[in-house]
Each structure stands twice: as C-alpha cells, then as structure tokens.
C-alpha cells in the first residue's frame, strides 16, 4: 500500500508492504544505496538514519511507522561538507568503510544535541555502531574534531 514521507527534504510516496523496513525501501525501492545492511536485527548500526533528527536503525523501522522527515547519509550535506564528514576525511577514518555511513549518522545526531561530547558521551552514543575493521580510535578523534568545528 502507498506510504508518503519526506526523505532528504523531498516528499516521497512508495507502494510497499506495511512491514517492509525503511532500510529496504531506501535501498531497493528508492535506490538510495548509502544506508547499509549489516545484521537486520538492529545490532550493528550500519543502517542508521535520522528520523526527526534522531538516530534510528532503519532495518528495524517498518515503513508504515515512518511519520517524520527522514535524513540519510546522502542528505546529510549536499557536498560532503558536514563537519562530521569533513573530520572523517581529514583523519582518514575508514578502512573498508562499510559501517561509516551509519557511524557518521550516529555521530551527527550526537553532535546536534551535544556540541562538546566527552569520551563517555561518545561511548554511549556510538556503542550501537559496529566497526568490524576497528576504526574506533579514529572515530572518537574525528567526533572531537568535528565538535570543535561545529
């Protein structure tokens, strides 16, 4: 059945089963591949998007429940200029890079609410995002750097 919601500022209507997760609506219906599939059970954070500014696991969010604007990694900035994206590039954070869209969305949501997070704040906000390559040291540093430039 049809569902209408806003993605990255654009109103969008899709015709899908009601329980189809937002992740697969984004990837396979809207062909926006930036949001990643890692576990399907909300345990890795690769699929993190913002709904109404909050970091949400899109693999656990049925499309029928989406009632506020969605922002994905493609919409975080027009040109990669968001301070978190900039810090990620300046510190050469990624290895395989697969988790980093989700990491960046979690970090951006954190900084939107807390402009100067402590390491403990970062641990709490980022603990749901797995980096299998183990780039946590650089993610932590990059969040501090982005905080300094927000």
């Amino acid at each position: 059945m049809p569902y209408t919601f806003t993605v990255n500022g654009t109103s969008t209507t899709v015709d899908t089963p009601e329980d189809m997760p937002l992740l697969w609506v984004l990837r396979d219906v809207l062909k926006m591949k930036g949001t990643k599939f890692g576990c399907g059970v909300g345990a890795c954070g690769a699929c993190t998007v913002h709904i109404d500014g909050r970091a949400v696991r899109s693999c656990m969010t049925p499309v029928a429940n989406v009632s506020a604007p969605v922002t994905t990694i493609e919409g975080l900035s027009e040109d990669g200029s968001h301070p978190v994206q900039q810090a990620w590039m300046e510190l050469d954070v990624p290895q395989c890079g697969y988790c980093q869209a989700g990491q960046i969305m979690s970090a951006a949501a954190l900084l939107a609410n807390n402009s100067d997070p402590s390491d403990a704040d970062i641990n709490t906000a980022m603990n749901g995002n797995v980096c299998r390559c183990g780039t946590y040291m650089r993610i932590r540093e990059a969040i501090h750097r982005a905080a300094a430039s927000v």
Binding site: K33, G40, A43, C44, C96, N127, G134
Partner: protein
Amino acid sequence: MKANTDTTLNRRTFIKVTSLTGGGVALGLYVGTREGRSQFGPPPPAPTPDVYITIKPNNRFTIIAKNPETGQGIKSALPMIIADELDVDWNQVDIQQADLDPKYGRQIEGGSTAIPSNYTTMRQVGAAARAMVLEAAADLWNVPVDQLTTASGVVHGGLGRQATYGSLADAVSRLEPPDITAVPLKDPADFKIVGQPVPGVENFQMVTGQPIYSIDVEPAGMLFAAYHKCPVFGGVVESANVDEIRALPGIQHAFVVDADPDGSGRASGVAIVADNWWVANNARQQLQVDWDEGPTAVENTTRYNEQAASLSSRASEAPAGGGRGVANIGDVEAAFADADQVLEAEYYFPLLSHAPLEPMNSTAHFKEDGTLEIWSPSQIPGLANPARSAGIENDAATMHLVRSGGGFGRRLYSEYDIEVAAIARQVSEERMEAGLPTVPVKLLWTREDDMHFDMYRPAGYHFFKAGLDADGRLTAFRDFVPSVASVVPANEFPRGFVSNFMANSIPITPFSIPTGALRAPSTNGVSFVMQSFIDELAVAAGADPMQFRLDLLANPVPEPQPAGGRGGRGGGFGGGGFNASRAAGVLEAVRRMSNWDAVYPTMGNGRGIGCAFQFAHAGYVAYVVDLTAEGNGQIRVNNVWSAVDIGRQIINPSRSRNLVEGGFIEAMSHMMDWEITIEGGAVVQNNFPEYQPTRMAHAPSSIEVEFVLSDNSPTGLGEPSLPPAIPAITNAVFNATGERIRRLPMKHDGYRWT
C-alpha cells in the same frame, strides 16, 4: 598464503607503449610467466600487459589498481609506489579498478602478499615511464638526459625550458622502451608519496553514501535473490514447496538448485527471486523444505571436546615418521625427567566466523547469448567455478571486481559467485521461455546466512608440557594438538631456542565443518596459546616475562639435523625465515615505549601489563598492554604500545597505523566474545547479539604505534598486527589478577569489558 619477500627475480619484464586516439600514451608492463595463471585456463595467445599507466595530454595520469580492495588500502598503495617513481603529484593521479583479467597476473587480496609481491615491480614501472619521458624531452631540446630533472609531472631542462609529461606523450609513444631492470630507481630518501599518510582514495564516496560496494551494484532491471541452504553442512534439498512460494506477492521465481559437490562446489538450496530483496528473503518464512541432512548431522562441539580430552592421554607420543607439520627435536621426555620444574597446561580457542560487516553477495547476468557477467566482491576472484556452476565455458564469463565491506579472509572463498551464477542462469532461462528479456540478479545473504555458512577459523586444543632447569632456563617444550583442521605450531618460537622441542597432532574424527583462513591464518589462535604458555614459563622461572623472551631469542639452539615439519604457512620458525634479531627489535621497542622496566614491578592488585610478540606473514609485531581489572571479571584496556617491523619502508603510514589499531580491536573480539559452536552439524550462533564484536566503549584509551625500520624488503600489515594482541591482553590480565587465561572466549569464565 605464503609470504614472498621478493618475487621479482627470474622474471622477463618489459614495457610496451601504445599511442592513444585523441592524444596521450599508455604504457603497459609485461611480466613473464608466474604462478597463478592456471586458474584462468590456458594462457592467452599473445602477451598482454600487467599494468597500465596512461599519460594524458592534460597531464593527468591514470593508474590501474589491479588487486581487489577490501579495506586494506591496496587501491592506493600500489599506485602510490608507481606515482612516486614516475615523479608526479598524487593529486594528478586517477585510480581505476581493474576487472578480472589474466593480463594483470595475480589479483588476490590475501596473505598480506600484495606489497611484498609487487613493491619492486611497481617501482620499476614508474621509473621506466619517467625514463621515457626524460628521453623524449632530451630529444626535444637536444640536451643530455642527465641535465634534466622532473617534478610534479613536469620535465625541467634549465634555461627556463619545461614540458609537461602530457605534452611529451606523443613523443614517448614513438620511443623504444628501456630495459625495466636497468632503469635506476629513486633513493628512498627522495620518496614524496611513498611514506606519506595518503587518505583512502574513496573516502569521499564513503562519507557521502555513494554506491561503491558490491551490495550496491544494481545494473538496470536487476532482480534480488535469497538462497536458502540446509543448516547442516552438506545437507541437500529433497523437496520444497516452491510452487507455493512462487505464488506469494512480489515473488518472481522460486526453484531448487542442486548441489554440485564435485564440480563448482555449489551447495544445494532454494532460490527465491523478487523485485526487492526484503520480499525475496521474507518468503523464506513460508518455505517448507525436506532436507537430507547427511552424515554431518551427528557432529557437535561437545563431542569434539570430549575426543580432544581423550586423545590428550597420547600427548607424549612422538610424531610418526617426522611428517610435515610436526616436529621432534632432541629428546623432550629425557629433558622432562632431568628438569628442575615441569609445567603442564591445557589451552583452547574456538572456531570463529569472519563476520565482515557487508554480508556475502554477488551480482550476475546470464545473457541471451549464453555469456555470464559477474560483479564480485571476492578477494580471490576466479571464473572457473562460477562458469562451471552456470554450465558454461570459462571464456563465456567475465568478472568485475567490486569493493567489498571487509574481507578478513572470508572473501577468499567465493560460494556467492558460484551460487549467483546458477541462479542467474535459471532466472534468465525462465524469462526467455516466457518471452522476456534476461536481467541481472543480485544474491544477498542475511547476516544469519553469513554466520551459518562460513569457512571457519579452526579451533585449537593445545596440551603443553615444558621443562625448566634450576636456573630457570627452558630445556624442553612440547605441544600436543588433537586437531580439527587445526594449526600445529611445529615451526613456532620457541622452536630453535630450546634444545628439545616436540609438536605432534592426532586428528579428531569425524570433523566435517568447513574451515578456512581468517586474518593471520596460521597464528591468530596459536599466538595466544604459545605466547601465554611462554608467559607461564617466565613466571615459573621467576623471570620478567619481557626479559625471559629476549633471553630466549638471544640464545638460538642449532638443530642437529634437518628435521621434519619445516615449511609453515607464513609464520613460524622454519617456514618464513624467522629472524630473532627482528623479533627482539620489536620487543625492545615496546619495552622502551611502555616504560616496561619501571612499570612492571609496580603492577598487581587490579592493574597489570602484559607483553607478547609474533612473527606472522613476514612481519614482526610486539605489544605491551596496560589493563585494569575492576573485580567481578570486568576488565578495561587502558593504553597499548605496539612496535612493528615490516621492513625498510612504510608505504602509507596512515593506513598502516589504522591496520594496527584495527588488528588490536579485532583481537579483542576474538578474546572476549567470539565463538562458533556446532550442534547437530549446524552452527549455533545466528547474529551479532550472540557474536559480539568489540564496540566503541571497549576501545583502548590509546594505541601507540612505532615502525621499526629494518633493512628488509617491505611486507604487508593486514595480518601481522592481530595475533600477538590477544596474549598481550591475557598476559596483562594475569599480571593484574593472578588468573591465567587458558581458554577463549573469556566470557565463559565470567569476564566482560568494563
């Protein structure tokens, strides 16, 4: 997976130039015969180049990246080497990922081999191209070559004369290429790109969510497939309700795929194909399959454990015949009888799944003309098995190499390519029969599929016995390994540094679980058991564990005769040319960095430091770990010091440091939580909640890395950084608490991260 230190010898290597339509010149590097071609069938009729550098009129340079990229950074590392010798700026270079083609030679990501097997050749390619540009400029200005200099892709000839490489491209295309081995190489002190922290070439695409991964590949019209296999290894479909599945909303195809164990190696299963993957995968809930589970269904981890314990009564048996993979030096039994102290200990580490974050997937299009096009994330791409699975000849298949979300050795096995090939053919045949055009199909596994159908890191059961003399010197060392495809440390330190050394193994049967290489395959578990038991010996000897290792390394014991069991896989004493002074070098470095001598005597009561070192894949890595144990089994890694010797040149220090940090973080997963167990011939664990990776809150406060530059050829770092991290942490736990960790994962003994 063997690590070569120099593979440029005995090759006939030459360059050929081709003028490009529209301007510019392509330089192709041709390399003589090598291993690895056989997998592609007969050699091509005419030689074709291995590497291309393209010089364009606008003075931009395209360099082909020939190896698959899984996050290790090879997509930039090899072109960096070429660009530096060519003497262009990194921002003038465009990197292009090569497709799978015999003309590129060995295109494998695995074994930390890309750097050692390509370093010198890549330098020669760049240097030879620069030499040709210089010759073209010398002809143009009629001056000797030795009066010319280069910088940033421009030739300078004095008197204000200068010419971009691009402006000389046409002239270069008419020159006779030089003998590649005779071209002088740069003094490494003059490197401008090699040795600099170069960011990942696709960082921008990653942070902006562009579709660069295998899972993102979506050629026009693509359908999505799920593939449902028997949870019991080797089980096959007897029947399935595919007609009912096909009738579900959104499902386009559903069919049984037969096993092909003697051909492509394909496993039996049910393919479900839909317009989007979620619908296809969701239909598995309605799927009813009768399985023939086969003989593996009787296997379980408890039985392996019981058999290992039972076999341990044979630990004193000498290896029969001195075969490969075992060792029997001196007389360990006599030495135990003479020893002042004899220690025995049992160690264990489990099967592991790789769990790269991007689940297995592959995309294929079987076309009307009977050809197959594949987009693969494989670390070891090959056409033979996918072609066989699709029932076509190798030369009817082509393959694009697509970046993958992590390898760790998992993508050295390419079942997804094999499965998608068969699925794509069946889908296209059904569509052609219905008068529809063929379409590409993406096969995507779930995380649960990924965990259930891996090639697991073999478990290790180790029954140790060692003797110390009255002065605390090691006189005998024995390891007995009841084996489940396990690594037997027959060539590992302290072999070569103790007079009596035995390593023997007896297989546990039946054991039918598929096993394979996980990051640092020969040492990722063995380093834990060996470097932990060495630590036990140091404590028993009343010695400082750091000094105990250094004393052993300083006193090699020549072996009486060439013994059986040489030739380990990359790591180890005999296999890869263990160099005690390089091992001592990294230990001395972490000793200094961590201020070990001052700190070690002050530890205990919940604060500890531990050390370990490992030789793996031609590299030497030592760690010191500073750890707090807060009671109730809660532990926290505070600071980490790492010293790394991978030769005289670090290609890209940013990436190398990242690989050390990542190796350490991965080791923490192995140590605390990761374990695959078997029940009824199937894997018990399903997803990350039962297989917890290290998370942000567990990450150390700092990981300090120092590269010890030794006069050896550069080697890789994807693997060596992992193995010694585990025993460095567990030895620190002992130092803090007095509890020796002899079994992984530690969660079973009540430990958790703070």
